[in-house]
C-alpha cells in the first residue's frame, strides 16, 4: 500500500485536522493511520468498527444500482454496523444513470456503472478517482483483470469490480416442450409466432438493439447505419407481439404473465432457482459479456459513507453473500474461495466456453451514439 506521505504533508494534514477543516476519517485516510487502524481492527476483533467510531460517516448513504442486484440482509448489516441507512435507487439502463449525472445534482454516493461506460464518465468529469487507502478490502491482485481492467482509466482507479455477467434470455420452458431456446433467431421468430404477447425486451438500447443485431448476425455493438436499420425493422415488427418493454422483468416472469425475456445472468439464476421451468440461455449468435463496478460520482454528498459502503461490499464474506443472493459470478478469487462448489460450477454463471467466446463486451461508442439512442426511443414510441 502507498501510505507513505512526507513528513511535511503529514504535519499539514495534522494542522488541518486540528483546525477542524477535515474530518477525522479524512485525516486518518490521508496519513495512512486509517489503514493502520483498520489492520489493527481486523486483527483484534474487539477493536472492530463500533458504531461510535463509525458514526462519523454520517447516518446515510445513497446507492444507485440495478434491479434485484443485492442481498438486502447485507444492507441491514451495513446499517447496523455503521449507523448509516441506505437509500437504494434502481435504474434500468446506463443511459438513465448518465443522464441523471449529466443534469447535475444526482445526490448519489455510490453508483454501479457497467464496464463500457466508465471512459465516458471520466471524459465528462462525472466520476471521482478512488482513494484506495479508504478501500482496504480492495486487493487488485485478487481480481481477474478481464473483469477489473475497465475500472482503471489511464492508470487511475475510478471503479472497483462488483460482479460480471452475461446477457442472454430467460424462457419458461413449459411453453416450449420443456426445452430452452438457443438463439436470438428463435427468440424473435417465436415471439412473432406462438410466444406473441408473452415476450419482454429491456428498456435499454445496448441489450435490446444488440439482440436484434445478433438476430441478423451482426455485431452486438454495431453502429453501422444499414445494420441498425435492419435491427430497427425487426424491433418494430416485433413490437405488437411484446408483453412489455422493461428492464425489471422478474415480476412478470414469476407471475406467469410473460414467458420469455431478455435477461441478465443473475436474474436468470434467481428465476430458475425459484421456478425450475424457467431456464437461462445464451443466444448462439452472441450477446453481451459485461462487468459492473462500484464507483463514486463527482460531488457525492456523503463521501466517507460512500467509501465505507464500497469497502464493506468488497469484504469477501459480504460479497459471497451477495453472490448467493444475486446469482452473478464475481471476479474476486477471495470471494470464490468462500463459495460452495455448485455455484462455481453453475452453467448459468459460468457458461460453456464456446458460448462465452461468441459474446462481446459492450463498446463505449454505443453509449453515446445518437443513432442507437434515437432508434430505441423510436421503437418505444412506435
Amino acid at each position: 500500500m502507498t501510505d507513505h506521505i512526507s513528513k511535511k504533508k503529514f504535519m499539514e494534514e495534522l494542522r488541518r485536522y486540528q483546525k477542524g477543516s477535515v474530518t477525522r476519517r479524512h485525516f486518518l485516510g490521508v496519513t495512512g493511520l486509517g489503514a493502520a487502524t483498520a489492520v489493527l481492527g481486523s486483527t483484534m476483533p474487539g477493536l472492530r468498527a463500533t458504531t461510535a467510531m463509525a458514526s462519523d460517516i454520517g447516518d446515510r448513504v445513497v446507492l444507485a444500482t440495478w434491479p434485484n442486484y443485492h442481498d438486502e440482509a447485507n444492507f441491514d448489516m451495513f446499517t447496523d454496523k455503521t449507523g448509516a441507512f441506505l437509500q437504494v435507487n434502481v435504474f434500468g439502463s446506463n443511459e438513465e444513470m448518465l443522464a441523471k449525472l449529466q443534469a447535475g445534482g444526482s445526490g448519489w454516493d455510490v453508483y454501479v456503472p457497467t464496464n463500457y461506460t466508465i471512459t465516458t464518465y471520466v471524459e465528462e468529469d462525472l466520476i471521482e478517482p478512488l482513494d484506495l487507502s479508504k478501500l482496504p478490502n480492495y486487493d487488485p491482485a485478487a481480481f481477474d483483470p478481464r473483469f477489473s481492467d475497465a475500472g482503471i482509466v489511464d492508470g487511475v482507479v475510478y471503479a472497483v469490480p462488483k460482479n460480471w455477467g452475461t446477457t442472454g434470455m430467460a424462457i419458461n420452458m413449459s411453453h416450449n416442450g420443456g426445452k430452452p431456446f438457443t438463439s436470438w433467431k428463435e427468440f424473435f421468430d417465436r415471439t412473432m409466432d406462438d410466444f406473441s404477447g408473452r415476450t419482454m425486451v429491456h428498456d435499454y438500447q445496448l441489450t435490446t438493439i444488440g439482440a436484434a443485431l445478433n438476430y441478423h448476425g451482426y455485431s452486438f455493438n454495431s453502429v453501422d447505419e444499414a445494420e441498425l436499420a435492419d435491427a430497427e425493422k425487426l424491433l418494430i415488427d416485433v413490437k405488437p407481439h411484446l408483453f412489455a418493454i422493461t428492464s425489471d422483468y422478474q415480476p412478470a416472469m414469476r407471475s406467469g404473465d410473460a414467458w420469455l425475456t431478455i435477461c441478465w445472468t443473475g436474474d436468470g439464476k434467481q428465476l430458475s432457482t425459484d421456478i425450475p421451468e424457467i431456464a437461462y440461455a445464451l443466444g448462439k449468435e452472441g450477446g453481451e459479456l459485461w462487468s459492473d463496478y462500484y464507483a463514486i460520482p463527482k460531488g457525492a454528498p456523503h463521501m466517507e459513507a460512500a467509501y465505507a459502503l464500497i469497502n464493506f461490499m468488497l469484504d469477501p464474506e459480504v460479497n459471497a453473500r451477495e453472490v448467493l443472493a444475486h446469482g452473478y459470478p464475481v471476479a474476486d478469487s477471495r470471494t470464490n474461495e468462500l463459495l460452495p462448489e455448485e455455484v462455481l460450477n453453475d452453467p448459468i454463471l459460468y457458461p460453456a466456453a464456446e458460448l462465452l467466446n461468441a459474446l462481446e463486451f459492450g463498446a463505449a461508442a454505443t453509449l453515446t451514439d445518437p443513432n442507437r439512442a434515437e432508434l430505441l426511443a423510436r421503437f418505444k414510441s412506435a
Binding site: S93, A99, E123, I245, S255, D257, A377, K380, S381
Partner: protein
C-alpha cells in the same frame, strides 16, 4: 402613492416570479428546439429546423395522447356525472359531506402507489384470475391501452366529480320540482334543466382532466409496460435516456402548441354554449 403605482407594486413580485420561472424556461425550450444534440448528449447551440423536421418520428406518441386523453376525459365524465348527480340532487344533507369526502380520500395516497395497486389488480393474478374462475379464460389486461385508460380514469375521477357536483349543488331544486309539476318527463327535465345548468361544471372538470392527461407520463409508464407511449413518455425518454435536449425541446414546443390550440378552441366553444344558455334564460 397613485393608484396606478400601487397596482403595479402589487403585481410586481408575482410578475417577476412568473417571468423567471415560466417565461425564461419556455424561452430556453424555444431556443433549444432549434439546436442540436451534443456528441455525448445534451445541447449545442445551432440554428436548424432539423428537430422539427424529425417530429414525425414521434407521431405515434402524439397520436396515442390525442386519442387516449380525450377518451379518458370522456370516460371520466361519463362515470363521474351520475355520481355527482346522485350526490348533489338525490342525497340527503346528512350523508352528502361524508360521501363527497369519500370521493377525495383515495386522492390522498400517492398516484404512484395507487397505480401500483392496479398493476396487481390487472396483472395475471388479479382480475384475469377472477375471470378465469368464472370460465372466461386468457384475458390479458395489464400493459395494454385498456389498462392505461383504467389508470387515468381512476386517477382523475375526483377532479371530474367535484366541479360537476358544485354546479349541480348550486342548481335550484325548485326548478326540477316545477318541471315535474308541469308534467315534464324526467328525461326532458334532465336535458332541458339539469344538463344545461351543469355545463360550467362539466366544462371545468373536462378541462382539468384533459390538461393533466395531455402531459401524463406516470400512468402509461406503470400500466402500459413501456408500450403505450404518451408524449410525456417520449419527453422523459428524450431527456432521461437518449439525452437529446434539442429534439426534446422541439417535442415539448409541439405539445405546448397543441395544448394552446385545443384548449383555446375548447374555451371558445364553452363560452358560446354559455352565451346560448344565457339567451335561453332571458326568453
Amino acid at each position: 402613492m397613485t393608484q396606478r403605482l400601487r397596482n403595479w407594486l402589487l403585481v410586481a413580485p408575482a410578475a417577476a416570479w412568473l417571468i423567471v420561472m415560466l417565461v425564461l424556461p419556455l424561452s430556453v425550450v424555444f431556443v433549444f428546439s432549434f439546436g442540436e444534440r451534443a456528441p455525448s448528449g445534451g445541447y449545442v447551440p445551432a440554428f436548424t429546423f432539423e428537430q422539427y423536421a424529425n417530429l414525425p418520428a414521434r407521431f405515434t406518441a402524439f397520436k396515442n395522447t390525442l386519442i387516449l386523453a380525450p377518451l379518458g376525459t370522456i370516460m371520466a365524465l361519463l362515470i363521474a356525472y351520475p355520481l355527482a348527480y346522485q350526490l348533489a340532487v338525490r342525497t340527503s344533507q346528512r350523508w352528502k359531506t361524508l360521501l363527497l369526502v369519500l370521493v377525495i380520500v383515495p386522492f390522498w395516497t400517492s398516484i404512484l402507489i395507487r397505480s401500483y395497486a392496479w398493476i396487481f389488480l390487472l396483472g395475471g393474478g388479479g382480475i384475469p384470475a377472477l375471470l378465469a374462475s368464472l370460465g372466461i379464460e386468457d384475458v390479458r389486461l395489464i400493459y395494454t391501452p385498456f389498462a392505461v385508460l383504467v389508470g387515468i380514469v381512476y386517477g382523475y375521477l375526483p377532479l371530474m366529480v367535484f366541479p360537476i357536483y358544485v354546479s349541480l349543488e348550486r342548481l335550484d331544486k325548485r326548478l326540477l320540482e316545477a318541471s315535474a309539476d308541469l308534467g315534464a318527463h324526467p328525461a326532458t327535465t334532465f336535458l332541458t334543466v339539469t344538463l344545461p345548468m351543469s355545463i360550467s361544471g362539466i366544462a371545468t372538470g373536462c378541462m382539468l382532466v384533459f390538461i393533466l392527461l395531455m402531459g401524463e407520463f406516470l400512468i402509461p409508464a406503470l400500466l402500459g409496460g413501456g408500450k403505450v407511449f404518451f408524449v410525456g413518455n417520449a419527453l422523459v425518454d428524450l431527456f432521461l435516456q437518449s439525452r437529446n435536449w434539442a429534439f426534446g425541446s422541439a417535442v415539448a414546443m409541439m405539445l405546448i402548441i397543441i395544448m394552446l390550440v385545443t384548449v383555446t378552441l375548447y374555451m371558445r366553444l364553452i363560452s358560446r354554449l354559455n352565451v346560448q344558455r344565457d339567451d335561453a334564460q332571458l326568453m
